[in-house]
Symmetry: C2
Subunit: 338 residues, 2 copies
């Protein structure tokens, strides 16, 4: 039996015509394919709950010959950016191509063309979030990026919400799933750093350039985005003191364990007077702490605030389905907010 709270949209549906929302996908790897699948399999649900139909207007890919992970009508695929980007009938652009400069240009042009943009691109955001947010504001559209940090765990929404009613004083997180997987293997299976890295690669947990993960650079990019939402200050990744896990040995982890601790790669930002300090670094944490029990590719973010006390969010940080799910979350929030 469903009840009034949830029947609200159903009730009003028969009188409303379904609104068509035109979406363009740029990039069609694992995340893009996942988004495509959710859009297809939830058509009825979007119609029922929100009275909308998401209509994929086109999919821009780099290589037309590449084997696709899912079946899509051939006429939707194109390797040309401009026709889609200049199509005024498109409401929302999903930027899923990755990389920095090309993606930044794509996002900016889409925003200037008064299209909402959803991206999972933490690298671009870490360097250009304030500028792109300003472009979005001037154009009267939204720039959303739930998927850029901590996968399906709604950390940005949690920070935004808490910030409206409280002062956030510190955030601490495990925000890189692959290094956490490596440290977990070293700690629990007593394997060497090298073997753990190999295993992470086999499972597809590492970025194409593994040093981005191992050096802490990926964590610093995410911390930049998180700190922006926690404190309203933009800190670029190169301004964050960053240490990776390349020099952590099995001996270090064993020594920590002998003292009731383990080692985790923590990303931390905190208020120091009016300024925000941010550090990414391997740290010892007590075995009895929640961070010690954040295993494998899971992420966790602890938020400390003046009144609310410490809060923690925990969940899968990566993977195509969790990331696609976060992109869909942004789509839904656009549709509800309009």
């Amino acid at each position: 039996m469903s009840t009034a709270l949830f029947e609200k949209t159903t009730h009003s549906l028969p009188t409303k015509k379904a609104r068509k929302i035109r979406v363009a996908l740029f990039g069609f790897g694992v995340v893009g394919s996942g988004v495509w699948e959710v859009l297809q399999s939830n058509r009825q649900e979007f119609l029922r709950q929100f009275g909308v139909e998401f209509d994929v207007a086109g999919i821009c890919v780099r290589d037309m010959q590449k084997q696709r992970l899912v079946n899509v009508p051939a006429e939707l695929l194109s390797d040309k950016i401009e026709p889609l980007l200049e199509d005024d009938s498109i409401d929302i652009v999903l930027e899923l191509i990755g990389g920095r400069y090309e993606a930044a240009t794509l996002i900016e042009q889409a925003l200037r063309g008064r299209k909402h943009v959803i991206t999972a691109n933490k690298l671009v955001l870490a360097y250009e979030l304030p500028r792109l947010a300003a472009v979005a504001e001037r154009s009267g559209v939204e720039l959303l990026y739930s998927a850029s940090v901590c996968g399906s765990v709604p950390v940005i929404a949690a920070l935004d919400e808490l910030r409206t009613r409280d002062t956030i004083t510190k955030i601490t997180g495990i925000v890189n799933g692959s290094t956490n997987f490596i440290l977990t293997m070293m700690s629990e299976k007593s394997v060497s750093f090298e073997r753990a890295v190999d295993e992470a690669r086999t499972r597809g947990f590492l970025e194409a350039d593994a040093s981005l993960d191992l050096s802490g650079a990926d964590a610093a990019q995410k911390l930049s985005v998180l700190a922006y939402h926690a404190f309203g200050q933009h800190i670029k990744p190169h301004e964050i003191e960053t240490h990776g896990i390349e020099n952590i040995t099995s001996d270090d982890i064993r020594a920590a364990r002998d003292e009731g601790e383990t080692i985790k790669l923590l990303a931390t930002a905190y208020l120091d007077g009016d300024r925000v300090k941010a550090v990414v670094s391997p740290q010892r944490v007590p075995l009895a702490s929640i961070f010690a029990h954040t295993r494998d590719e899971f992420n966790a973010l602890e938020i400390e605030a003046r009144h609310a006390g410490p809060q923690l969010l925990y969940g899968k940080g990566a993977g195509s389905l969790p990331t696609a799910s976060a992109v869909i979350s942004d789509l839904v929030s656009l549709v509800r907010g309009e």
Copy 2:
């Protein structure tokens, strides 16, 4: 340096006149006093961020002679319900009197009078949420209750958000802080059930009627509210299979520990076909699990969904400041939504 995303409201302020929002408080114990203090100390912040002034129109108390926890102008206090409830200038009613029938009547009358209502009253909600939500909908106002479950941890918002994009299949939580405090003491300090209950009482963690906590009834009320948001089905507390912790002994906990486990009072609801099953019961959990590391008066809720993978939210479940903070969160969401 603050940036465009956050300057938005500041920029538009000079052209807007501050909107006055008239609020009536019913009940003025620890939570009500906390709300009063936050409203006073954040006047500038509400004005700057949302362009509103919260104006407390009156405070209804049972006993006018009682010593107050904070200073309030005497003319605001009254022991009469009707004048405040019938005052058409009041926009929002905060129901913080507790109990069942009187509070339910108050909430219903306020909603019928087209006032938004914010409540922390899980008992009323567990029995009457669908009916009261329907009254709110017909009157075109909102009924909000973030503070009713898990204090400042935004579990209801998380369930609502996830439900728009995914199918929630199971929720499992530690949702009663006092029993969790008692089990933590028994487990970590090896004290008896009786001594742990005494300590919880001394610290103010138990309800006036301690059996509400110890029997699992409080957890069942909260589970009812959570299940409604997770699955859209209303299950009344007496329909939930409920076992308390009264018969847990130190020996039980020791025996669990010998097998690498501990005992927690878990509230669980899951989809079984189309129906929802709900149980509150002490359960063994592995010492290495996050639930085992949810200590003292902390709460945790794990949410399992088809696409997003498991998520967990964790934070302080009780206390006057966290609860007041959740009430403020509802106030802010009303102001933003209008």
